[in-house]
Every structure is written in structure tokens, then in C-alpha cells.
């Protein structure tokens, strides 16, 4: 009855409060406390999982001659911790006042608890079958959570389900192939076992695993479902999903690619007559995941969709880091998982606070809210600085690690691809904060106030953590260390505030304190250079025109007109057309095949016998 068992039972128990007490905030409160307990339990597991150790759960059973059990190693522990913290923040936010505007708040709590339980089962898998069980549970629970608000979110969730089923089938075939070729399904035994596979088989396994896990990580061409699915979910649910849910795909992908197949084998696995090998192919897939969704996000007019598209883009960054294999790349990739969760959650929560007060997330119908919702502005500001990866925030640390890793691994073109992705992020995050908080305040938003403290508190808390872990990157790297050890990947030498590398170190404490000191000096200069008079937004230069509250004096629609004139034609939705095309093709095929046996018993008999004969021929 060790801590991991306790964790699983507690996760099961957190389902109960919101089911038993649907009305009122008590259910939500209890769930939040339960998550807090889970986080404390996970931290108590830290000593036993670091340095590659693992904790086996007593939940175990035998089937078809294999034992199927669960054990939590450092890599699973790292993701489990982020899951628990994201769930804690989301449920604290949901009980803090958000439930007044949502009729299905208690259902949200129970679904989120279900998701967390499913994720623990996935992260703690000891063998391939338990991995698959956990994977299916995560997909199913994710579908329920996405479909909770009803309406367009059900459509988006159903679309996700189709992708998830396709992914699950591919994953199942991959597991069967691995089991046939290596004889065992225990993850520890499979460590490095797939390196000796013949080329053809390993390419098939790689492709199947890429499809299986890539769906959840929304790698293009499977990225179409995630933005509407996460965007249209409930506010706190979107924050939870955006922060951690799609990283389960990364967990699975790394488990197979790094632990089982190993990066050396990936480099060795060369495509005939082309200088592409498996590793650079995967790295370029990650680079495309980094660029394409970011520039799609640039054109979005709904704040939640814009953030969801960015979630996909940042996933590419993580995979890119992990595919490098050198110490900086690993640390960068894994730290980016933590950093992304720490600024994606407050971004979604800040946008939900705006929706909670103004009722809309449409960037063309907002503006000037900084005067009315300052705390939501501060949270969004910290979040976008993190998302864009600019110095004071932790997003910069993991991006710096990945950039250095790319340069040390001598991959300049991937470095440039990462930079193109970052530039797209910077452009679209400014559009986000400008259209919501800056510019002229609309007449109907004049009485809007900040969200209640129950909601603003948690999002400020996690945004503050993002700032602190930017100032002291050691905090994040201490959590990343067990994960890298479990995967068997090297880690750079670091201490609480700096990362040491022979050819260019980074001491974030010095950088951030220099920045804050310089801003203090700037403030000194600025404040005693004469007093300024605060005026109202209509006292503005309009070429001699008298501004009144009726004139709509705001530039927010079609924000980057110049840029879109150049890249607009490149972004025609041909992939969406492909998806719809395949959908129609399936409808036709199913209608045709139904014609075979529907209404007509005789034709069905003939069809049945023919298939039976064919089967006999093959089997005999």
C-alpha cells in the first residue's frame, strides 16, 4: 500500500464529492482539496522516483500469459505532477465564482477528476497493455470533458473521437507488432529492445506509433480537431486540457521513440537515397507543428481558438527539443512541457474571465478592457510574455535551451524554423492582448469589473509561478531531472538560477534582476521628469475630428493586413477540404456497402458465402 496506490485511490475518490453534492460549492471545494492532497502525495513520491527509480502499484493482474501492472517512474511522475497542478488550478478557478454562470459546474468537476484518474493510469503504465488501457481511458474521458458544454463543442468532441479511434487502432497494431518481435510487453524489459529490429519493421512501428500518439499531440496532418475541441470547451476545462492533455501524446511518443527505439537507432534508420533519417524526419515534423498552427492562430478572430492553436504549436517545440538527444535539447523539451502548462493555463483562465464579464471572446467586439479589468490584464500579459518566450518569463528559458541544443547539434535550418514559429507567436499574442485589453473601451463595457477574487486568485498564482520559475529556472530543472534520468537522456549542469555550458551560459537571475533594476532606474528618470495628466480615451488625435462615444475609433479587425496579404494565399484550408473529402468518401462507401445486404436477404447470403470461401482459402 505505497504512495502510488494511495494516489490512484485518491484520484478515484475525487470523483465522488461533485457527484454526491451536485448543488453548491462544497463539491468543488472538496475536489480542489483532493487535488491539493494529490500534489502533496506526488511530492512525497519524489525521492523514490529520482535517479531512475520507480514505484510499483499493487494493482496487478495476469492475462494471456503476461502480467499487466502499473508502476510510476520519473518520466511518468513529471507529467503526473503537471496534471495534478493544472487540475488544482482549474478546479480552484471553477469553484471561485465561475460556477455561478455555469449550470453544469459539478459535472465539470467530476469529469475533470475522471480525466486526472485516466491520466495517472496512462502515466503509471508498466507495460504496453496497461499503457493502451490508460490511453483509451484518457481519450474517452477527454471526449466527455470536451463535450460537456453541448452545442458546437459536441461536434468538435465527436470529430476528436474519430481521430482518437483511428489513433487507437494504429497504436494497437503497433503493440501487437512490438510484442511479436520482442516477446515481452514489460516497458522495463523493452528498454532499447526495438533497436535491433530490421529496418522495414521499425519503419512500420515508427509510423504506427507516430499516428497513434501524434493524434493526441495534434501533429499536422492530425491537427484539425484540437483547436475547436479545446477552444469551445468550458473555461477551466479548456485551461486543463490546453495545459496538459495533449502532452500525453508526447509522453507516449517519447516512451517509444526515446526509451524503446533509442535516438542512435533513429539516426541510423536512414531513408534510402535521401539525406533524411528518422530523427531529422521527426524533428522536421515537429518544426512543421511549430510553424503551421502558429500562423493559423494569427488569423483567428476568437481568443480561445487563437490560444488553442498556440497549444498545438508549442507541442512542436517540446518534441523538437526531445528529438535532439543532446543535454540542452532534452532539458529544453521537458522543461517546455512544464513552462507551457504554467502559462497556457493562466492565458485560458484570463480569457475565460473576460468571457465571464463581457459574454464574448470575439476579438472584434472587445477593446480597452485594461481600464476595467486590470488583474485579468496582468495575468494575460505575464502569459503572453511566457508564450512568446521573452526574457523575464520561464518560456524564454526552455526556448533558449532548445535553441542552444539546436546550435550544438548543428541543425541551423531547424533553428531558423523555430525562430519563424516564435515570430508568429509574438505577432499573434500582441494581437490577442491588443484587441482585448488595449485600444478604445466600448460603451457597453464601461461598467465591467474584474472577475471575483476566487477566479483571479488562482490564475494570478500560476502566472506568478511562471514568473518565479523564469527567474529561478533551477526549480523547473529539478523537476525535469527525474524524467530525463528515467528516459536515460543526459542533462546539462545547472544550479538554482543558471545553466552552465562551455560555449554560452545563461544566468536568469542576473538577466531578470538586471532588467528589473534597469526598469527601476528608468522609472526614476521618468517619474521626476514633470507630472503627466491622465486623460480619457476620447481626448485623442483624430486629424481634427471631434471624437464622441459613438465613433468606433479602434483598429482591431484584420489586424496584420500587410502580413496577411503576403501569407494569406499560402494558408487556404486545403487540408480541411481533404478531411471533408475523405468524410464524404466514407459516407459513399458505407452507403454502397449497405446496399449489399439491406432489404435483400438473398444477396447477403451470396455475399456471406463468398467471403467465407475466401477466408477458408487464406487460412488453409
Amino acid at each position: 500500500m505505497n504512495a502510488f496506490d494511495l494516489l490512484l485511490y485518491l484520484a478515484l475518490a475525487t470523483l465522488l464529492p461533485s457527484l454526491l453534492a451536485p448543488k453548491g460549492r462544497s463539491g468543488g471545494m472538496l475536489t480542489t482539496l483532493a487535488y491539493l492532497l494529490q500534489v502533496w502525495l506526488l511530492f512525497s513520491l519524489l525521492p523514490s522516483v529520482s535517479q531512475g527509480g520507480s514505484v510499483a502499484a499493487c494493482l496487478e493482474f495476469a492475462a494471456f500469459g503476461h502480467t499487466i501492472g502499473w508502476q510510476l517512474n520519473g518520466f511518468g511522475w513529471f507529467f503526473a505532477l503537471i496534471t495534478a497542478v493544472s487540475a488544482l488550478i482549474a478546479s480552484a478557478y471553477a469553484t471561485g465564482g465561475w460556477e455561478r454562470q455555469c449550470d453544469h459546474a459539478s459535472r465539470l468537476h467530476s469529469l475533470m477528476a475522471l480525466n486526472v484518474l485516466a491520466m495517472y493510469l496512462l502515466l503509471g503504465a508498466a507495460d504496453l497493455i496497461s499503457l493502451f488501457i490508460g490511453w483509451e481511458l484518457v481519450s474517452w474521458a477527454g471526449f466527455l470533458l470536451m463535450a460537456a458544454p453541448g452545442g458546437q463543442s459536441v461536434q468538435a468532441a465527436l470529430r476528436y473521437l474519430i481521430y482518437a479511434l483511428a489513433g487507437a487502432l494504429a497504436l494497437l497494431t503497433a503493440i501487437v507488432l512490438i510484442e511479436q518481435s520482442s516477446g515481452t510487453i514489460q516497458l522495463d524489459a523493452l528498454r532499447g529492445a526495438l533497436a535491433s529490429l530490421p529496418d522495414g519493421l521499425s519503419w512500420v512501428v515508427l509510423a504506427l506509433v507516430f499516428v497513434g500518439f501524434g493524434v493526441k499531440l495534434a501533429m499536422p496532418p492530425f491537427h484539425l480537431w484540437q483547436a475547436p475541441a479545446y477552444g469551445y470547451a468550458d473555461g477551466p476545462a479548456a485551461a486543463f486540457l490546453g495545459a496538459i492533455s495533449s502532452r500525453m501524446g508526447l509522453f507516449g511518443l517519447c516512451l517509444v521513440l526515446v526509451q524503446m527505439v533509442g535516438l542512435e537507432r533513429l539516426v541510423g534508420l536512414a531513408l534510402p537515397f535521401s539525406f533524411f533519417d528518422a530523427q531529422s524526419l521527426l524533428a522536421w515534423a515537429a518544426a512543421i507543428t511549430l510553424i503551421v498552427p502558429t500562423y493559423i492562430a494569427l488569423t483567428q478572430n476568437d481568443a480561445r481558438l487563437l490560444l488553442a492553436w498556440h497549444g498545438i504549436g508549442q507541442g512542436g517545440f517540446m518534441l523538437l527539443g526531445l528529438m535532439l538527444g543532446n543535454d540542452l535539447g532534452t532539458a529544453g523539451g521537458l522543461l517546455h512541457v512544464l513552462n507551457h502548462a504554467s502559462y497556457q493555463a493562466p492565458l485560458f483562465l484570463a480569457v475565460t474571465a473576460v468571457v465571464y464579464r463581457t459574454g464574448t471572446a470575439d476579438l472584434d467586439r472587445l477593446g480597452g478592457l485594461i481600464a476595467r479589468m486590470p488583474w485579468a490584464y496582468v495575468t494575460l500579459l505575464l502569459g503572453i510574455i511566457g508564450l512568446a518566450g521573452l526574457p523575464p518569463m520561464n518560456g524564454f528559458v526552455s526556448k533558449w535551451l532548445i535553441y542552444k541544443g539546436l546550435l550544438d547539434a548543428q541543425m541551423p535550418l531547424l533553428f531558423v524554423a523555430a525562430v519563424i514559429g516564435t515570430l508568429g507567436t509574438i505577432l499573434s499574442v500582441y494581437k490577442l492582448i491588443h484587441n482585448i485589453f488595449l485600444g478604445q473601451l466600448r460603451a457597453e463595457h464601461r461598467e465591467v469589473t474584474d472577475a471575483p477574487w476566487g477566479m483571479t486568485g488562482p490564475m494570478l498564482l500560476i502566472a506568478g509561478f511562471a514568473f518565479i520559475s523564469g527567474m529561478l529556472p533551477g526549480l523547473g530543472l529539478y523537476l525535469v531531472e527525474p524524467a530525463a534520468a528515467a528516459l536515460g537522456l543526459p542533462m546539462p549542469s545547472f544550479d538554482l538560477s543558471a545553466i552552465h555550458a562551455p560555449n554560452g551560459a545563461l544566468d536568469m537571475l542576473v538577466v531578470v534582476s538586471a532588467l528589473i533594476g534597469a526598469i527601476g532606474f528608468g522609472a526614476l528618470l521618468f517619474l521626476n521628469a514633470g507630472r503627466s495628466y491622465r486623460t480619457q480615451p476620447l481626448d485623442n488625435y483624430a486629424g481634427g475630428h471631434f471624437l464622441t462615444a459613438q465613433t468606433r475609433y479602434q483598429y482591431s479587425h484584420h489586424f496584420y493586413a500587410g502580413l496577411l496579404r503576403v501569407i494569406g494565399p499560402w494558408m487556404r484550408p486545403w487540408l480541411v477540404a481533404l478531411e471533408q473529402g475523405s468524410g464524404h468518401f466514407l459516407d459513399l462507401a458505407s452507403a454502397a456497402s449497405r446496399g449489399l445486404y439491406y432489404h435483400n436477404g438473398l444477396r447477403f447470403l451470396v455475399f456471406g458465402t463468398v467471403v467465407g470461401l475466401l477466408w477458408l482459402l487464406i487460412v488453409v
Partner: protein
């Protein structure tokens, strides 16, 4: 004696110097500031009348006003010097007043030609304004219809000398006698005339209140309840003709 008032130079009222002026440190700072203000005048690029055509030659290679530090600036916020280059129709005056109020700090107005003094060639037109200094405190006039670049340059040098010696404090009159100016403006544009700029708030903020800042004309503004800095747009601001 004619019934209309004869123009006399305003008597040099001895203004009560405020605290920091007396202190040596404040005086030297103000002296340096006046020196820099004189040598870096930003002219507002806003051509109100027929004299505007004289400005490009005074800025470009032959007369080159950048030698004395003058640069054309596009928005009133960045400008110090507003040039009224010729006659002012009533419509243009409304925009000139808004532009003047959007200009900041030590700001100066210079009228070109006789149209700004007493209506000039358009003395009998129903559509033009006759005396500019009824509506704005004017620092300097240039004679000539229209003054050539040499005259403009000489006027700028005189203005710089006036600023350098600290005598160009006429812009504070707009705050100290705002009620008088607002009364004239409302007589011309109608009782509901007001601009989005909060002149009374600025006067209070920078302690530029004079005896005539508030009066019966500014009382008319009260019902608009306009100015909540940082509060966002106020719909009472509809300007009725």
C-alpha cells in the same frame, strides 16, 4: 474715439512667481529649459490658410530652418508651435481650437498676415473669423499677405529670443482666462460647444488656475459631466450643432 476697442499691448502684469522660481536650482533649470525650448521648436505640420505654401521653402535647402533646430511634427501632441497661416473659416477655427488644446506644455501660436489680426482681405465675409486672439492666446504676428520665407525666418528668430528670455508665457493665459475664451467660442459655435480635452482639469492639475478660469460659460460645461480620466468614453459627449 471709435466704438470698437483699440488694440493695446497687454500691460506687463507682474505675475506672482511661484515657489520654485525663486530657488536658485529651480531658476537655473528653468533657464536651461527655456534655452533648449528656444533651440528645438517643433512646428505643427497643419496648414490652415494660404500662407502654408511659404513653409516648405523655409524648411528646405535655401532657408533651412533645421539650422535653428526647428522640425515639422505631424501631431499636436508632439508640437510646440502652431502656425495660423492666413484667414480662418469658422469651420477651420473649430479644428484649430481642438488642435491647440491637444498641444502640450509651453506652446506658442503665430499668426501670419493681417487676416489673423482683423480679418484682413476677408474683413466683410460672413464665414471667416476676424480676430484670432479672441479664441487663442497668440504670441506673435507676421505682417505681409503672405510673408515671404525671409520674414517668417526673422519672426521665428524673434520668437526664439522671446522664449529664450522667458517672456513667452502667453500659453498660460488660455488656462488662466479659459472662461473668456470659452465664452467667445460658444458665442460663435453655439451654447453646447465643448472639446474632448479637459482644460479645467489640466489647469487644476498643473495649478494654472487664474481668476477667470471658471465663470458662467464654463458652468455650461458642467451639465455634460464629461471628464472621468481613465473611466472610458462618456456618451454625453455628443456635439450638437
Amino acid at each position: 474715439m471709435p466704438d470698437y476697442p483699440i488694440y493695446r499691448d497687454p500691460p506687463e502684469q507682474c505675475r506672482t512667481p511661484d515657489a520654485e522660481e525663486r530657488s536658485l536650482w529651480g531658476r537655473t533649470l528653468e533657464r536651461i529649459a527655456d534655452h533648449c525650448r528656444a533651440r528645438s521648436l517643433f512646428v505643427l505640420h497643419y496648414c490652415t490658410g494660404c500662407g502654408a505654401i511659404e513653409l516648405p521653402p523655409s524648411m528646405t535647402s535655401r532657408f533651412d530652418l533645421e539650422r535653428v533646430g526647428m522640425q515639422p511634427m505631424v501631431t499636436p501632441r508632439q508640437a510646440d508651435l502652431l502656425l495660423i497661416t492666413g484667414y480662418l473659416s469658422v469651420k477651420t477655427l473649430k479644428r484649430v481650437i481642438l488642435t491647440y488644446e491637444q498641444m502640450q506644455g509651453p506652446k506658442y501660436v503665430m499668426g501670419f498676415g493681417s487676416c489673423t489680426i482683423n480679418g484682413g482681405m476677408y474683413w466683410n465675409s460672413y464665414a471667416t473669423v476676424k480676430r484670432l486672439d479672441q479664441y487663442l492666446p497668440v504670441d506673435m504676428y507676421i505682417a505681409g499677405c503672405m510673408p515671404r520665407p525671409e520674414a517668417i525666418q526673422q519672426a521665428f528668430l524673434q520668437l526664439m529670443e522671446k522664449i529664450d528670455s522667458g517672456r513667452a508665457q502667453n500659453w498660460k493665459e488660455y488656462y488662466r482666462r479659459y472662461d473668456h475664451y470659452l465664452g467667445e467660442q460658444q458665442a460663435l459655435f453655439g451654447e453646447q460647444f465643448h472639446t474632448p480635452t479637459d482644460v479645467i482639469g489640466e489647469a487644476r492639475h498643473y495649478s494654472l488656475f487664474g481668476p477667470e478660469t471658471l465663470g458662467e460659460h464654463t458652468a455650461k460645461l458642467a451639465k455634460y459631466d464629461l471628464y472621468h480620466p481613465g473611466q472610458g468614453a462618456v456618451d454625453a459627449l455628443e456635439v450638437k450643432r
